[in-house]
């Protein structure tokens, strides 16, 4: 086998680090409680949309070109359409629990789901 001992340690360390990160990611998911979607463009907060059952709101960012169509519906939010080249933001689909997010890198748009109820982990994450 081509792998040396140091290779295996490196792989094990990276595996442990990513598993830990994913675990932390999942542990911080807070589907319960009131939530809202914060929509950022170029790093500035454009709008917040409430995420709750039965409530629908649409928001179009950009003009006829370079646009993202944001749809919040029934406690979830997604980018329903965009004319960016990679379509990663559209393919991300619905997100509904903090700290999930949708990113559109070409147009510098970030949609963050945040919990409006004060979470007890705030001191750690800040």
């Amino acid at each position: 086998m081509l792998l040396t001992k140091a290779d295996k340690w490196l792989i094990a360390a990276l595996l442990a680090a990513s598993a830990g990160g994913i675990g932390l990611n999942l542990a911080l998911l807070s589907p319960a409680g009131a939530q809202e979607a914060q929509i950022y463009r170029d790093g500035t907060l454009v709008q917040t949309i409430k995420l709750r059952a039965g409530y629908r709101e649409e928001l179009r960012l950009g003009g006829t070109e370079r646009y993202n169509l944001v749809v919040a519906d029934d406690g979830r939010v997604r980018i329903a359409a965009a004319d960016c080249p990679d379509q990663l933001c559209v393919r991300t689909g619905w997100v509904s629990a903090a700290p999930q997010q949708i990113v559109c890198l070409p147009y510098r748009v970030v949609i963050k789901v945040v919990s409006t109820a004060p979470p007890d982990v705030d001191d750690i994450t800040k």
Binding site: L2, K5, R91, V103, L105, V110
Partner: protein, 168 residues
């Protein structure tokens, strides 16, 4: 080896890496995470580091990103910035690991490290581009994905070098 011969061989490596870079942009990956790529062009970086050292490897990597983004029509866009930073950072990290830890760490280990550094650098640029540190939440998923791809590219480079006829 003469300078002309070296220039020609490095030029061929740039062409090969540029094609790999462009082709992998066409491959759809079933993961909706920005920045996830196979990193096929890293094979060329590893080979050039092994054969010629870090300076030619860095030059080939930068030339590859410029060429690849021109072929893909993304020159000077956000993905160009990501690609350039990722390629430069991972090539330098791999060259350093290759020079310092080579006998203990095999070419495959160097490759895995390079793939992880590639993701780290890209995430950092992406966070700057959208001005949001929340992007770093993607990092564990990217690193997890970098392990198999780094292994694959490292093994490919190792097999390529083992079968390369020693001329010049």
């Amino acid at each position: 080896m003469t300078d002309t011969r070296r220039l020609i061989i490095l030029g061929l490596f740039v062409a090969a890496a540029g094609v790999l870079h462009a082709v992998e942009a066409w491959l759809p990956l079933p993961v909706p995470v920005p920045g996830v790529k196979l990193g096929l062009a890293n094979i060329v970086s590893l080979v050039v580091i092994e054969l010629y050292g870090w300076r030619p490897a860095l030059a080939v990597a930068v030339a590859r990103v410029v060429l690849g983004s021109l072929l893909g029509g993304a020159f000077l866009g956000p993905s160009f910035a990501l690609g350039l930073t990722g390629a430069a950072a991972s090539t330098l990290a791999m060259a350093y690991a290759h020079a310092r830890w080579r006998p203990a760490l095999s070419l495959v280990g160097v490759s895995v490290l390079g793939a992880a550094v590639h993701n780290l650098a890209q995430i950092a640029v992406a966070a700057l581009l959208v001005a949001s540190a929340a992007i770093f939440w993607y990092l564990p998923y990217l690193v997890l994905f970098a392990l198999p791809t780094g292994l694959a590219t490292g093994l490919t480079a190792a097999y390529f070098l083992a079968r390369l006829p020693r001329v010049g």
